[in-house]
Structures are given as C-alpha cells and as structure tokens.
C-alpha cells in the first residue's frame, strides 16, 4: 500500500501501527488541551504569557520573512516570465502598428542656407544664414541623396519605399486620392522602362544636368543622372511647367 504523502510503499502491518500512532497523537492533543484549559482558569498569569510576550514578535517576523522569500521566488519563477511574454507581445504589436504611423507622419527638416553679403566701406562681411523659404521636409525613412524641395500644395505623401539602392516616394492628390507624383532615385544597377510610344520627348538642362522630358497624355516624366545616381520624376495630372519646377527643386540632402 502506498503512502499518500510520500508515495513510498508501506506494508499493511505498518499502516495498522500508523493508525495507532494517530491515536497516540490524539491522546497527546487531549492531554495538552486539558492542561491549557486548567491553566486558563488560573488567575495568575503563567510563564506562557511571559514567553509569548518575548517570542511573538520574533515568530511573526519569521513568518513575514518566509512569505517574502516565497513571494520573491514565485515572482521570479512564474510572474516575471509571464510579464516578459506579455511585454514581448505588446512591443511586437506596437512595432507593427507604429511602423506605418511613422511612415506617414515623421519628417526631417532640411535646412537650406543662403549667402548673406554685408558690404562695408573697407570689407564685405560674408556668412551663411538659413533660407527659411527654401528649407523643406524629407520623410524620415528616405535614404536617398536627393529629394524634391518643392511639392505642390495639393499633394501629400502616400508611401515611401526606401533602401540603399532604390528610393521611391509617392504623393497622392488630397482631393482625388490618386497618385499624382512619383519620385525615384536609384543606383547604377537599376533598370527602368519609360513608355515613350506616341509620346513627346524633349531635352532640357535642369540644375546643370541634361534631363529628358517625356510627355504622353496627362503624364509627364522627367529623368536624368548626376553621373552616379539615376533620378526619375513621374507626374500624373500635372502640367509640364509644374513638372519641370518640381525637377528643378530636387536638392541634395
């Protein structure tokens, strides 16, 4: 027969004597309880009361200390791992949720400086000051080297896809919701196809670079290179002059 507490086999003979042991304990309990009752009936305080006056605080502190240790053990063994799991899930959710949020709201201000000349009688003071009108915002995740400094007011950033090699930004018309402008900056390994069938193709110098202008229906594309990177500006529903203004506004950041 197995002992319930220890799981160790005890013979039926042992179990029989165990029951006798229980009866012995019950007998001791009765004797002690009777002695306590007799002591309680005495008027004079006993040594027991003096004993508890000394010992109660110490024993309660022992209980407090044990519970504190058990609580700490339980916290590190069960609660902390669970909190870590919950925190990991929360952080994952925030990272996914805020990723898109950052893409649409965070920009970096690019400050454009202008030359300030202060002519005096004997000398001319020369210094750089911020050209606030020329300063512009760039999406925080843009990794390209250049960005349009002029964007028509009716356009807002729709999405940004930016890697070290290829960088693409789409702008949508806030009234129609359609993509109206795409600016692409690509590395040397990039290949691109531009629809020139039945299109008007012309060339123009913009910012010192020879630019190709392709005009077809309502679409105007402007592309050029600075010798290291390839730049493409695709405009839908924007006239040619406006498209050229946007191309002229592309600045190194």
């Amino acid at each position: 027969m197995k002992d319930e507490d220890t799981g160790i086999m005890r013979s039926i003979q042992d179990r029989a004597y165990d029951l006798l042991g229980d009866m012995l304990i019950e007998r001791d309990v009765s004797a002690f309880m009777k002695a306590l009752e007799e002591e309680a009936e005495r008027e004079n305080p006993s040594e027991m009361e003096a004993f508890f006056a000394r010992q109660d605080r110490l024993n309660m502190e022992r209980i407090q200390k044990h519970c504190k240790k058990a609580r700490t053990r339980r916290f590190f063994k069960h609660t902390l791992p669970r909190i870590g799991q919950i925190a990991a899930v929360i952080i994952a959710v925030i990272s996914v949720g805020c990723g898109v949020g950052f893409a649409t709201s965070k920009t970096i201000r690019v400050t454009i400086m202008r030359l300030l000349l202060n002519a005096q009688k004997q000398f001319t003071e020369v210094k750089l000051v911020e050209d606030e009108a020329a300063s512009f915002d760039v999406p925080a995740e843009w990794r390209g080297e250049c960005y349009p400094s002029y964007i028509p007011g009716n356009l807002e950033v729709a999405q940004v896809i930016s890697t070290f090699e290829d960088n693409i930004v789409d702008y949508r018309d806030i009234h129609t919701g359609n993509i109206a402008l795409t600016f692409i900056e690509s590395g040397a390994s990039t290949e691109s196809n531009i629809d020139t069938e039945n299109a008007q193709v012309s060339m123009r110098i913009i910012n010192g670079y020879q630019c190709h202008i392709v005009k077809k229906d309502a679409s105007v594309s402007v592309f050029w290179t600075d010798g290291m990177r390839f730049y493409l500006l695709v405009c839908e529903g924007i006239n040619e002059d406006e498209a050229i203004s946007i191309a002229e506004g592309v600045r190194r950041i």
């Binding site: 002992d3 507490d5 220890t6 160790i8 039926i12 003979q13 042992d14 029989a16 004597y17 165990d18 029951l19 006798l20 042991g21 229980d22 009866m23 012995l24 304990i25 019950e26 007998r27 001791d28 309990v29 002690f32 309880m33 002695a35 306590l36 040594e47 027991m48 004993f51 508890f52 000394r54 010992q55 109660d56 110490l58 024993n59 309660m60 022992r62 209980i63 407090q64 044990h66 519970c67 058990a70 609580r71 339980r74 916290f75 609660t79 909190i83 925190a87 929360i90 925030i94 990272s95 949720g97 805020c98 898109v100 949020g101 950052f102 709201s105």
Partner: protein, 206 residues
C-alpha cells in the same frame, strides 16, 4: 486613421507594467500562517514544555523551529482538514522536540541505544491478517500500555509510526544500521504487544 505615436504608447505601457508588478502580491499564505500561529501557539508551547520542562531556551528553540517548519509545509497544512489540524501541529512540534533531544543525546555521546547481543534475529516475513488487525479493545490496551514501554522503545515506535520515517532515515538519526533498526523496532513492538496482553488480562480480571 490615427495612430498613437509609438513613444507615447511605450510610455503608457512602461507605466502600467511596473504598477502591475507592484500590485502582484499574494498575502493569503502570510495571513494563513499568522492565524495558525496565533491559534496554536499555546498548544505548541505546551507540547514543547512537555519534552523540555523548565528549559526555556530549548522550548523557545523548539517553538521557533516549529514555526519555521509550519511555514515550510504551509501548503500541506492548508490541505489538512480543519478538524485534523490540531493533531498535525502536535505531531509537528513533537517531531521537532524529539529530533532536538536525539541531537542533544548525540552531542553528549550518550548510549541511548546500546547494542544488543544478537541483531540477526528472525523477523517473520509476513504475519497473518488476524494478528495484524487490531480490534477496538486491543487498540485501547495498546494505547494504555504504551507509556510503560522504555523510552527507547517509545522513540522507535514514534519515529516509525508517528513521524513516518523510513528505516534508512531512522538508522541515520540513531547511528545504527538499517538491519539493527528493523530488529530493534520489531522487538519494541513485541514488547508492546506483550504489555498490552498483560493489560488485557488485568482488565479482564478487574
């Protein structure tokens, strides 16, 4: 669609998590142990004083050790039915006291358990059921004759059938071999049954 800015969300959860940690406190065990101590402290004292009489230092140590053991076996005590908790506490304190007495005896190098001539005794492998099962009257006779046993025999029987110690554990405590412990226990029970028989005869004659 509006998104909660990432840094603000992180600040929000960074505040909640420490608060959640602070709020995670389980005082049930502490409350239970405190109630148990206050309810049974007098009984613990009385039990310890039964073993150590006027030796207040030993009584203090015994009660303190019993409180620590009560903390250690808190879950076990919670599982014990309420009507059996008193006996559990007395058993716990008695075990602490007897363990302490054995330790004192070892320190003083007393011959508490002198070696007997023949440890190679023939302990019957099995007994028939009739001799194992005690009738109610027989159990009463055994109880009444227990105090007439020698302290040594009483200690052996208590260790085995009240403290539920295994033979190996008993051998370690007593400084004996397992075989010697088995033999000593068997003989103690034989003497106990003999005393109980004498008790029965006395009752019958009375």
């Amino acid at each position: 669609m509006q998104y909660l800015p990432g840094h603000e969300t992180m600040e929000l959860y960074g505040t909640i998590l420490p608060l959640a940690i602070l709020l995670i406190e389980n005082d049930e065990d502490r409350q239970f142990l405190t109630e148990m101590y206050l309810q049974y402290r007098k009984l613990m004292y009385k039990t310890a004083s039964h073993y150590f009489h006027s030796n207040y230092n030993e009584i203090e140590d015994a009660v303190s050790a019993s409180v620590e053991r009560m903390c250690k076996y808190c879950k076990n005590i919670q599982d014990v039915p309420c009507n059996k908790r008193t006996a559990y506490i007395v058993r716990l304190v008695e075990n602490v006291c007897r363990t302490r007495i054995r330790a004192i005896a070892r320190q003083r190098d007393r011959e508490q358990f002198p070696a007997e001539e023949n440890w190679e005794t023939d302990i019957p492998d099995t007994e028939d059921t009739e001799t194992i099962v005690f009738s109610h009257l027989r159990a009463n006779d055994l109880l009444m004759s227990f105090d007439r046993l020698s302290p040594r025999d009483q200690e052996l029987i208590r260790m085995r059938h009240i403290d539920y110690m295994e033979f190996e554990e008993m051998a370690r405590e007593l400084g004996m071999t397992v075989c010697a412990v088995r033999t000593a226990l068997f003989r103690a029970k034989q003497r106990w049954k003999k005393l109980a028989s004498e008790q029965e005869d006395v009752s019958y004659e009375g």
